[in-house]
Symmetry: C2
Subunit: 416 residues, 2 copies
């Protein structure tokens, strides 16, 4: 394990790492606390000795890695992978071939397909690192608050490793998401409140029971785990990374992790320029977009069909906003109607069935595409499978009329 | 393209291949016809010049292939891959890392994970070959009859390639399966009848409209496409193939294709011994198992929760039975209760959420496991994702009680 430390993104205080006890640090004790309907302040980030790392982590080394297997380049993670059983690691490999290239309406698009991860979503990248850290620490129970995908991801990854998971969800969780969590054997706790209340209760009970906690952004490894997509994109594009990446944004952890990954590649002098990250949110849940436009955070109860990016108080708002600004990206909103129509068009034109959350990236791209020069490489980040949210598919697939044998034979079929 | 021909599995008549017109051959005109509630006779199989092939297709060559990409060893397919756009091929790659190794109840099990294929099922292996053949032939419309997965697979693969798909389904198709087909943009036709009637109507209308037809077993490439799993298993186990493979059986096409793949490896002198294929069926849909036990086929309306292996008249019964016998395998039935309980146990212990159809293999394994010597390598073929059949997951995941804040704080959590 390479030397590393944790740093508060608010006050810049440094926390040493490397001992079991200290690894339990979640959030800066000076700045961070969980406040109802508020983003978290004092989220920690992991820092490494990049000057030292860049001697061994060269362009050439990176180009020869296999995507989807973070343990093959262990020094870029705050982990002691050597303590983990080889077969446990193999159970967590992502498909290495994740980028699909499609020509849509005359323009090439790169699609980063996270829908075939172990539990069919991007959240697995965070769950994998967190679960392996628990294994390394010898902790066999992990808890998380979730509105859906993070919970089923943690439950599924824990099942692969024989770890017990405890998932705290708001009582109005969509049925499909609840059942996915339970199917993987996660212990589920239906909280009589919203995500905020589930979040706080999960922290309290985790402490009481000495469970390792995976609350999004609260545990810095959730952000750290999500940086792996940047490395995978570098490997899979053979270093020809996109100019622009459309990223669906809810709590702001994916875009923060992705940005950190690219920033590390830059610090290692493997890439020269960062891709510009375009934050996409649903019109009914646009706290990050609004903060970027106005500089003000204001809590509004979220209201969107895209439940995986529905967040009134994005826990990782400040890092997400920074990722957009520092990568010279910008922000876009899409309405629920635009999202559903993009979900349909994407499935029909590419055979990729995605959740509304990330169909938003295609909706946003369609609005913006006239702005891009023809030679720019554009990627959409497709973060979750459409099968995870069956209710949204039902909205645009009506049952056709049943016809009798004779009716069929007597008509030409082309009408459908 | 290597020289090859088609051979009738009933009368052994040979049909030359290689011209566009002849590629349209589906079934032996002497033996084959579609008879209601009956298996197909006269299914064709593809034969190659193995003596010639074995000079270049050596053990060493095979061990260095990438799994999931059939076009990287083109001579074992009745296809002219060079006529297909490279980017179209890349869109069809399966994840190369499909085998997971788990220790369950003290014994190692190999799980072949087909749940992360492009449309989340094994059927993609057939659809890929059929769709590429259509491309090669310059046909842009493909039709198939389906009770679910074959249809959504064809629709999804066609969407990737810009081909129009026409799917004929019985009117009682599960809603989830119907919506998957439609989501990928497949034109769907709800037939006022059962699978048999959809099958016949699909053939008739395909002929009328000059569509390429993917009806299971009727088009020999559906069986041929499914042999690729044998090659992938060889590649992924580095030649150390399993001694036994539990295979879920409905129409009998998967087990026939798998057997053919291993037989070809044997003909090429790459393996010495075939894995023994254990045919698993649901108690309420056991025509192949019963035929193996009694030598008699009798149509019974199928009745099982495992809709992907529900088939009263397995189209490919005779080849399936031959695959079991010639590989020295045998047959096992599992009840719906055993299947659901296996689905649950597998998800909890491995994090793999699979359909009831293939959870049947775990149910069967649990019944049989005392029979196997400890040093035997056992594999389960997991053919479809559990997210494809949400209704089955609902059967064993009840909604827990919602507790208030105060109730939570006052109890210790370990009760769940």
């Amino acid at each position: 394990m390479m030397e590393h430390h944790f740093k508060c993104t608010n006050c810049s205080r440094i926390f040493a790492a490397g001992t079991t006890e200290r690894e339990h640090i979640y959030i800066c004790p000076d700045c961070g606390e969980s406040i109802k309907n508020s983003p978290l302040k004092g989220v920690l980030t992991v820092e490494y000795d990049y000057e030292k790392l860049k001697k061994t982590y060269t362009k050439d080394k990176f180009l020869h890695l296999t995507a989807g297997q973070i343990w093959t380049y262990p020094d870029l993670w705050p982990m002691e992978f050597s303590k983990i059983d080889k077969y446990d690691l193999e159970k967590l490999a992502l498909p290495p071939n994740q980028i699909l290239k499609y020509k849509i309406d005359g323009r090439e698009l790169y699609l980063q397909d996270e829908t075939r991860n172990p539990t069919y979503s991007y959240k697995d990248r965070a769950s994998i690192l967190v679960a392996l850290k628990a294994k390394e620490l010898g902790i066999n129970e992990i808890a998380a608050a979730s509105t859906g995908n993070a919970g089923s991801s943690l439950a599924g990854i824990c099942a692969r490793l024989g770890i017990t998971s405890h998932i705290f969800v708001p009582k109005n969780i969509p049925e499909a998401k609840r059942i996915q969590i339970q199917s993987y054997g996660g212990n589920i706790y239906l909280v009589d409140g919203d995500y905020d209340q589930a979040f706080d209760l999960c922290l309290e009970i985790s402490k009481k029971n000495n469970w390792y906690n995976r609350n999004t952004a609260y545990n810095p490894l959730t952000i750290e785990g999500k940086k792996s997509a940047a490395f995978d994109i570098y490997i899979n594009t053979k270093g020809e990374i996109p100019d622009y990446i459309f990223v669906p944004v809810g709590d702001g952890v994916i875009i923060s992790g992705l940005y950190k990954g690219f920033l590390e590649l830059k610090k290692l002098q493997i890439i020269e320029k960062l891709p510009r990250l375009i934050a996409v949110q649903a019109g009914g849940s646009s706290a990050v977009v609004d903060y970027l436009s106005t500089g003000i955070f204001e809590y509004k109860p979220p209201n969107t069909i895209a439940d995986s990016i529905s967040a009134g108080a994005p826990r990782n708002l400040y890092m997400a906003a920074k990722a957009v600004k520092e990568s010279k990206g910008y922000e876009v909103k899409a309405t629920d109607d635009e999202i559903l129509s993009a979900q349909k068009e994407l499935a029909h034109k590419t055979g990729l069935l995605v959740e509304p959350s990330c169909a938003s990236t295609f909706a946003a791209y369609k609005k913006e595409k006239s702005k891009f020069e023809g030679n720019k490489k554009i990627m959409l980040l497709l973060t979750g499978s459409g099968l995870k949210d069956f209710a949204s598919l039902k909205q645009w697939n009506y049952k056709p009329k049943i016809k009798s044998d004779i009716e069929w034979i007597n008509i030409l079929i082309k009408e459908n």
